[in-house]
């Protein structure tokens, strides 16, 4: 099972790049926050939808970029707060249902290399 590591960053850092034909399925998450502050983490889905038509009115639905230009505009799939000095580990029971249609990026409310995020995932 692949895994990816990043540190807390307010601009967002990519954990998993998107795959054209696969979905990123989260299997586990480990966060070690040894910084002096509690950290709020958001895990966002980054993708661009295809242009389509609405079923209700047959109107054009333009393609939308969610998080591909900037992670902050991505669709939030998971949000968690990690108190200072704590190590949190979430297993498959906790995050197994969380899937990313595109890539996965993590955004923090504070920037520090003392908060490390490791994600375990599967491409399905």
């Amino acid at each position: 099972m692949p895994s990816a590591r990043q540190t807390a960053n307010t601009s967002g850092l990519v954990l998993v790049n998107p795959h054209k034909h696969k979905i990123v399925a989260l299997e586990g998450l480990k966060v070690n926050n040894q910084s002096n502050n509690d950290i709020l983490l958001k895990f966002v889905d980054q993708y661009t939808s295809d242009a389509s038509k609405t079923m209700a009115a047959d109107a054009v639905q333009a393609a939308e970029a969610l998080g591909t230009g900037h992670p902050l505009s991505g669709k939030v799939r998971l949000e968690m707060s990690v108190p200072t000095g704590e190590f949190q580990s979430l297993g498959k029971d906790d995050v197994g249902g969380i899937r990313f249609l595109g890539g996965c990026a993590v955004i923090a409310d504070a920037q520090t290399s003392d908060c490390v995020v490791v994600a375990q995932y599967r491409l399905e």
Partner: protein, 205 residues
Amino acid sequence: MLELRPVETFAGVTPRPKVLLPDFWIKVSDSFPDALDHVRGKSMKVLKTNQIVWPVTKIIKEGCYVDLNLSNDNGQELLYPNDPSNMYEVLIALHPGNYYLLPYFPAGQPIWRLDEPTMTPTMNSATLKYLGAIRPSDSPVENPVFKLYLFYKLKPVILRVVADDGVAYEKCRIEFQINRCKIAQDTPPANVTPKYIPYLDELKW
């Protein structure tokens, strides 16, 4: 008429190939139009085959749809043969997700409907948008059963990919498993029953 069927039992089952193989025979329907007279009503022998997988993925907002035109027209999916002596047997496999397909042939004309005139797939109806829908569980990647036969100069087949309500966006992943067949007109041996290929319009009775 009501029938309560007993559990069927089988003995001496012979496995049957899922796709056409070399030396197999097909019989193309007489109902094919003039433009397809290179195959219309003819018995054809499969000379050789190869299998090509082509994945197509669309991320679609819920309550919206994308029409996949499988033909070789400009800007379309280019999944048709370009040679009269080729035929594509296409298995359409669907990865899991909250979406479904509605086939149209030609554009705007659904293949499946019921006898009552209102019972036809209708996109802006909360109920009729599901009429004839092919769900991922109907033709899963592990065992696809939704199949099309595509010939040179056949009118475009449209697959409407619909992202159903409830998931904001869906990544609709469709795998076309194309059995590319070289075919030639011939007379089948007396002990062989060719596989009958109807014209798509014949399904719309």
